[in-house]
């Protein structure tokens, strides 16, 4: 996994609530047996019409917007547990998703792929959408060490929560497998005690 420390980037707004993983990556694209190539199909049915032409009004297709931060509305990533959704977002180039609420499994999947989900208050999110709406060139700064998300030009900032263990993992590029494998003896002792 790639290490994460700080990021300064413009943002793409996606002001739709309850974005489910079927929208992030529709099921018909889940036939691959590796993690590559999902980025091409991220938000497939929102980005393309049925004749496979780009829909100009969808934010990802709007040349006004760019960057590796996706600012999304409430309850992002609900639905299926498919990690393909995280692979698709990472594949497209996103490193951070900001929302006022993330679905459980998606949040875990994102963190396991070095994609940082930042949960902010609804008021902050609203302001963020306003700022980007007014000036699409606005850039955001994410500092994982200080757990701070800020819009420097206008002095808007917030502190976000992250599980301390997950923070260490992201900063160092470790993952859970390394840790769990190192605990094998304890796991075996547990099995023995519980006669598994």
């Amino acid at each position: 996994m790639e290490k994460f420390s700080t990021l300064k980037s413009r943002a793409i707004p996606l002001n739709v609530a309850n974005v489910d993983t079927d929208q992030i990556i529709p099921a018909r694209f889940l036939k691959a047996t590796d993690k590559k190539g999902f980025g091409d199909n991220v938000f497939r049915d929102w980005r393309y019409d049925k004749d496979q032409n780009l829909k100009p009004d969808f934010p990802l297709n709007n040349p006004k917007y760019s960057g590796s931060i996706l600012v999304a509305a409430d309850n992002f990533g609900c639905g299926s547990s498919r990690e393909h959704a995280a692979w698709a977002l990472v594949g497209y180039g996103f490193k951070v998703i900001v929302s006022s609420f993330f679905a459980d499994i998606f949040k875990g999947n994102a963190l396991n792929n070095g994609l940082l989900p930042i949960q902010v208050s609804e008021t902050f999110l609203k302001e963020l959408f306003n700022v980007i709406d007014k000036d699409s060139n606005t850039s955001l700064t994410v500092n994982l060490e200080t757990q701070c998300l800020s819009v420097d030009e206008i002095n808007l900032s917030t502190i976000f929560d992250i599980d301390p263990y997950k923070k260490t993992c992201l900063i160092n590029g470790y993952d859970d497998i390394d840790y769990l494998v190192s605990q094998k003896e304890k796991i075996e002792a547990f099995e023995h005690l519980n006669k598994h």
């Binding site: 099921a27 047996t33 309850n75 547990s81 792929n113 494998v181 099995e191 519980n194 598994h196």
Partner: protein, 460 residues
């Protein structure tokens, strides 16, 4: 201290707590399928980590399989490759696989309970969010992502924070025509799609106590649709009777010993939950959804509510419905009875009892897709197949099918489908398809009438 069912099972599986961090939770059973496992196998292979406990893993092929001509090679090259990959991975790693055509093959959440693999007090995971289904037995069961599939492969454990606890109680008795599916659609319509996020939900009260195991599975299955990682129902005599004698269930004195343990699992009187909701059975009616998330549900005879927000409007626009409109008499051309929510024998019995002696409407294409080979065999053994065929329905072979439309079972662009599955997301049943979630009874009635009707007005 007074403990909940969830606490008891969770605490019995904690290997260790990481300081200032998550706990190491031991996983008893790991279910896998073709879509979310290949990348996890690759990961372990690349890192040269062996599968730690292959005998605690069971595999099936279900998501990406055809529902006709299963004896022939799978036509779609990518699907075929994914299935071959699963076979190869299972063979190389000594993992039991019930592949396409095997007598135990089926949707992962249908086949595991029916084989007695799912048991009270267990921890179970699968790379599929509807793993919550198995909670019907009083197990802690939840969906995981592929990175976590790899973690369980490597260590039979997961690093997790203990979720908070939520209890939904429904007392009273259900009215005629109201099925388990209506109960859970009703609960989600009241609580919303993210009310359960961060929680594990226990369902309690008369309604669940009096429910069959099939009904309990339908309820727990959809826990994830209100955001909860899982749902649970306390094990009782209904649970024990269901498990008894199944292929992988404990036998003889071992079974008796297990029952003694399982009886200690129900939530202690007075145990505290972080959140509680209570509903009355009498308030629940047959339900349908009108929007693009499972929380957008109404009683079948009610009108679509009036709401003023962009997401609501976007949703109605996709469905081509109007706020304030009733869905009764809406012509429907597609009906799907299947998916891990409603593809068990009881679901087909309910459908057959409505369909018997009637004819499917001419405009309707109706797919009946059993959840497993065993359900399929039982449908035939009970004579339901001829009921369906005489009425013009098509009984297909088991699999996830039009629930997620990864195979050819897709609903065409713009068409409505009354479906017994669990998600009505945009394009879930095929690009542009419009899904209306309902019980198997409502689905059967829609297929016969060719439109949505109020089933409570019919002799049931």
């Amino acid at each position: 201290m007074k403990q909940t069912l969830f606490d008891k099972v969770w605490d019995a599986h904690v290997v260790e707590a990481v300081e200032n961090g998550p706990q190491i939770l031991y996983i008893d059973k790991h279910l896998i399928h073709e879509v979310t496992s290949p990348q996890a196998f690759n990961e372990l292979e690349q890192r040269r980590i062996p599968i730690f406990r292959p005998l605690q893993i069971v595999a099936t092929a279900d998501h990406n399989t055809p529902t006709t001509n299963q004896h022939l090679p799978v036509k779609d090259a990518l699907s075929r490759k994914q299935l071959e990959q699963l076979s190869k991975n299972c063979l190389e790693n000594n993992i039991t696989l019930y592949k396409l055509g095997h007598k135990y093959n089926g949707i992962v959440h249908v086949m595991a309970p029916e084989l007695g693999i799912t048991q009270p007090g267990m921890t179970m995971v699968c790379g599929d969010s509807h793993t919550s289904t198995h909670g019907a037995f009083g197990a802690i069961a939840f969906g995981i992502g592929t990175s976590q599939v790899a973690q369980v492969f490597a260590s039979q454990c997961l690093l997790l924070k203990k979720p908070k606890s939520l209890r939904v109680t429904v007392n009273g008795s259900l009215k005629k025509g109201v099925l388990a599916k209506d109960v859970i659609l009703y609960i989600i319509s009241k609580l919303g799609t993210n009310s359960g996020t961060g929680y594990f939900c226990e369902y309690a009260g008369d309604v669940f106590e009096n429910m069959s195991m099939e009904g309990r599975m339908t309820v727990c299955n959809m826990s994830i649709e209100m955001g909860a990682r899982g749902g649970m129902i306390a094990p009782d005599q209904t649970t024990f009777n269901y498990i008894k004698g199944r292929e992988f269930a404990p036998k003889g004195t071992e079974f008796e010993k297990k029952i003694e343990y399982w009886k200690t699992l129900p939530t202690d009187e007075g145990a505290k939950f972080d959140k509680e909701y209570t509903f009355e059975a009498e308030d629940i009616a047959p339900m349908i959804t009108y929007g693009t998330n499972p929380g957008m549900g109404i009683k079948i005879s009610d009108a679509i509510p009036l709401e003023d927000n962009p997401s609501f409007e976007k949703s109605l626009q996709y469905m081509d419905f109007n706020a304030g409109e009733s869905l009764l008499n809406k012509p429907i051309n597609f009906v799907f009875i299947g998916s891990c929510t409603n593809s068990r024998i009881e679901d087909f019995r309910v459908a057959a009892s409505f369909i018997k002696g009637k004819q499917k409407a001419k405009n309707v294409t109706a797919w009946l897709v059993p959840g497993s080979r065993q359900v399929e065999a039982q449908i035939k053994a009970e004579g339901l197949q001829s009921v369906f065929e005489n009425a013009g329905f098509e009984l297909r072979q088991p699999g996830c099918s039009a629930c997620l439309a990864m195979n050819d079972d897709k609903i065409p662009q713009g068409e409505y489908c009354v479906s017994t599955s669990n998600r009505n997301f945009e394009g879930r049943q095929g690009p542009g398809a419009r899904t209306i979630l309902a019980s198997p009874l409502v689905a059967a009635a829609t297929a016969v009438e060719g439109k949505i009707i109020d089933v409570t007005q019919h002799t049931l």
